[in-house]
């Protein structure tokens, strides 16, 4: 009887924790294109190049222009896919990362825009900008330098 009650309490506790713990957004599942301005001479970008740019620890391209990473909102499934593939972090850890950076007084996070149309506009307008959109949304105003599919980053 006592054991049953203990099991019940433990089960309830686990259930409460499961339900109260915030869940990450569902993965978008879209194929993403990492895009840069057409004037950017870079033809492809790997994780080692993209990660420091989107962590804002690297702020200048090799050709001298300021690197301007453009992010989507934290609750965007595309943003979650991108962060997982490029930073290797789930949404909770991304949030912690930026909280820690703020407290340390580190450089600001990337500029955030509301949607992929705004990403396309920003990347098309600024030479040093880099962002990501669905592959199907890419148009002639930008250049694709990497692709993210199935959570993996690959060449364009």
């Amino acid at each position: 009887m006592q054991a049953t009650r203990r099991n019940l309490v433990l089960t309830s506790l686990v259930a409460v924790l499961c339900f109260s713990w915030p869940k990450g957004s569902e993965a978008g599942g879209d194929v993403l294109a990492v895009i840069v301005n057409k004037a950017n001479p870079v033809t492809s970008l790997g994780q080692n190049e993209l990660r420091p740019i989107f962590q804002t620890t690297k702020k200048v391209w090799s050709f001298g222009e300021d690197a301007i990473p453009i992010n989507l909102p934290e609750d965007s499934p595309l943003r979650n896919d991108f962060d997982q593939a490029v930073l290797g972090l789930d949404p909770e850890r991304v949030a912690r990362y930026w909280t820690d950076r703020k407290v340390r007084g580190g450089a600001r996070p990337p500029v955030r825009v509301p949607n992929t149309a705004a990403v396309l506009r920003a990347v098309a307008a600024k030479t040093g900008a880099v962002g990501y959109v669905r592959f199907s949304e890419v148009n002639g105003s930008v250049k694709v330098v990497a692709k993210i599919s199935g959570g993996r980053l690959s060449g364009p």
Partner: protein, 487 residues
């Protein structure tokens, strides 16, 4: 029965029709609602659909073809319009950083520190009672008014020095406690009470950061030394308690001057440096009253690869410090001024640090070595209560700590217990060795709110020197609990 060819045509049309509309829906801006049900057929192959009516004939197929063509045309028009909109200069500003951001952190909670009532620490500080406390209330003003320039000001609001013990009773002394009480002269009542506090400037600097390899920071900044002074705040630090080399200020925690810093990348590694030229220690004055500058620096290598992150760092600081005392030695026929110092020493501080994050495990370790050499005749007095007439010796000081934190697996990932051990050696009258053993539990409700708890036991002992006093009287047990919010 419809023929196989007819079914295949219907399947092809259904597939084309569905995928065109799916592309059309995808081409909309992200937050747009799904297409209206009337134009949102299942894009899957028609094997999942009910078979076309047996009456499907050439006219129906032609009608479907026409509809598909119309839809395709519509999609092409939408794509063209979108491309045009993206290529055209937008009227609204394109992705700009905010010129001023305000954020911060705060923590409140509970603490209980237990020490032998005959110990020094038990009487210098208010302990042995349970306390609810207001910990940090820090605000950041982060300004980026123009490109490549940034200013960061962090201030802390505190009730200190309200209640600080400033004098002891007995043996000719009188007990005194500082009060910030005053009347609120602007209050709505004549005798409205008011307790003042302090605003501490944690840091205030302006930097020019155009170049990756050479950024320049001017003003008041945290000394770039090791892990703790960089992590700085309760939301970021794993432990609530500080290592002893921080509380005993083996290096100046913050300095005023200029800092050059930068970094470069090699594969997955980031290599960085910081070099400082400052007024040195600011315990006595924020100005360079001793005439000696402080020099410091840090080198680090960081690999940030998602699941396995590591940082190796080396830090140093050196400076000469003295106080400045102004005296009048004569006043006839005119006032003669003389400046001198009561103490003067050189210090050399070196630290090495390692941070490793592997999955859910976080490991932090720092070792610090400090050498102090006094100028002959300029030694500081030791604690005169314990050693009347005593003077500080030249000394070596050394410490190392290891902290291991482990976030629990799903569904208990909100819990992060940790263990911390610290050994600290410095000659003092209450023993030259301190061992701190600690266990803590952080409960992270979300990225903004954490409940942090820590129990620590500090043991004083004779390591290399023999103390004339009972070192165990200062052993202490402490429990801290803080609810921390980052905002």
């Amino acid at each position: 029965m419809p023929s196989t060819t007819a079914l295949a045509r219907v399947a092809l049309l259904g597939s084309l029709f569905g995928s065109s509309l799916a592309r059309s829906a995808l081409a909309q801006p992200a937050p747009a609602p799904p297409a209206a049900p009337a134009v949102a057929p299942d894009p899957k192959p028609p094997v999942a659909e009910p078979p076309a009516a047996p009456t499907a004939d050439a006219s129906e197929l032609a009608q479907l073809r026409a509809e598909v063509e119309a839809t395709k045309k519509e999609v092409e028009e939408l794509k063209a319009a979108q491309a045009e909109a993206a290529a055209a200069p937008a009227e609204e500003p394109v992705a700009e950083q905010e010129k001023l951001k305000i954020y911060g952190f705060a923590d409140v909670g509970f603490q209980y520190v237990q020490i032998n009532k005959q110990g020094l620490l038990a009487n210098v500080y208010d302990v042995n009672e349970p306390d609810f406390v207001l910990g940090n209330l820090n605000l950041y003003f982060d300004a980026q008014p123009i490109e490549n320039w940034r200013g960061l000001m962090e201030v802390r609001f505190t009730n200190a020095p309200q209640g600080k013990i400033t004098g002891f009773g007995g043996l000719g002394g009188s007990f005194q406690r500082q009060s910030t009480f005053t009347d609120d002269s602007t209050g709505a009542a004549l005798n409205a009470p008011l307790w003042g506090g302090s605003v501490v400037i944690e840091r205030a600097w302006i930097e020019y950061n155009k170049l990756q390899a050479l950024k320049l920071r001017f003003g008041n900044f945290f000394t770039p030394f090791g892990i703790w002074n960089e992590d700085h705040g309760t939301p970021t630090l794993i432990s609530l308690a500080w290592p002893q080399f921080m509380t005993q200020r083996w290096m100046p925690l913050r300095q005023t001057g200029v800092m050059a810093y930068g970094n470069a990348f090699a594969g997955s590694w980031e290599l960085g440096y910081a070099a400082t030229l400052t007024n040195g220690r600011q315990e006595t004055s924020t100005l360079n009253i001793d005439g000696y500058l402080g020099y410091g620096g840090r080198l680090y290598a960081r690999r940030d690869a998602g699941d396995v992150n590591s940082t190796l760092g080396l830090s140093f600081f050196t400076g000469k410090t003295r106080d400045k005392v102004v005296s009048i030695t004569a006043n006839e026929p005119e006032v003669i001024w003389k400046t001198s110092s009561t103490f003067e020493y050189n210090e050399y501080v070196m630290g090495a640090d390692v941070s490793v994050d592997v999955g859910r495990t976080r490991i932090r370790s720092e070792g610090v070595l400090r050498r102090i050499v006094y100028t002959p005749g300029k030694r500081e007095p030791e604690n005169q209560l314990l050693a009347p007439g005593g003077q500080e010796p030249d000394k070596w000081q050394q410490t190392v700590y290891l902290l291991v934190a482990q976030q629990l697996p799903h569904p208990l990932e909100m819990f992060e217990p940790y263990l911390w051990g610290e050994v600290f050696e410095t000659p003092t009258l209450v023993g030259d060795g301190i061992f701190m053993g600690s266990a803590g539990l952080n409960v992270r409700f979300n990225s903004a709110i954490t409940w942090k708890n820590q129990y620590a036991h500090a043991k004083f002992f004779d390591w290399m020197y023999k103390s004339p006093y009972d070192t165990s009287k200062n052993d202490l047990n402490q429990f801290y609990s803080r609810l921390v919010m980052a905002f």
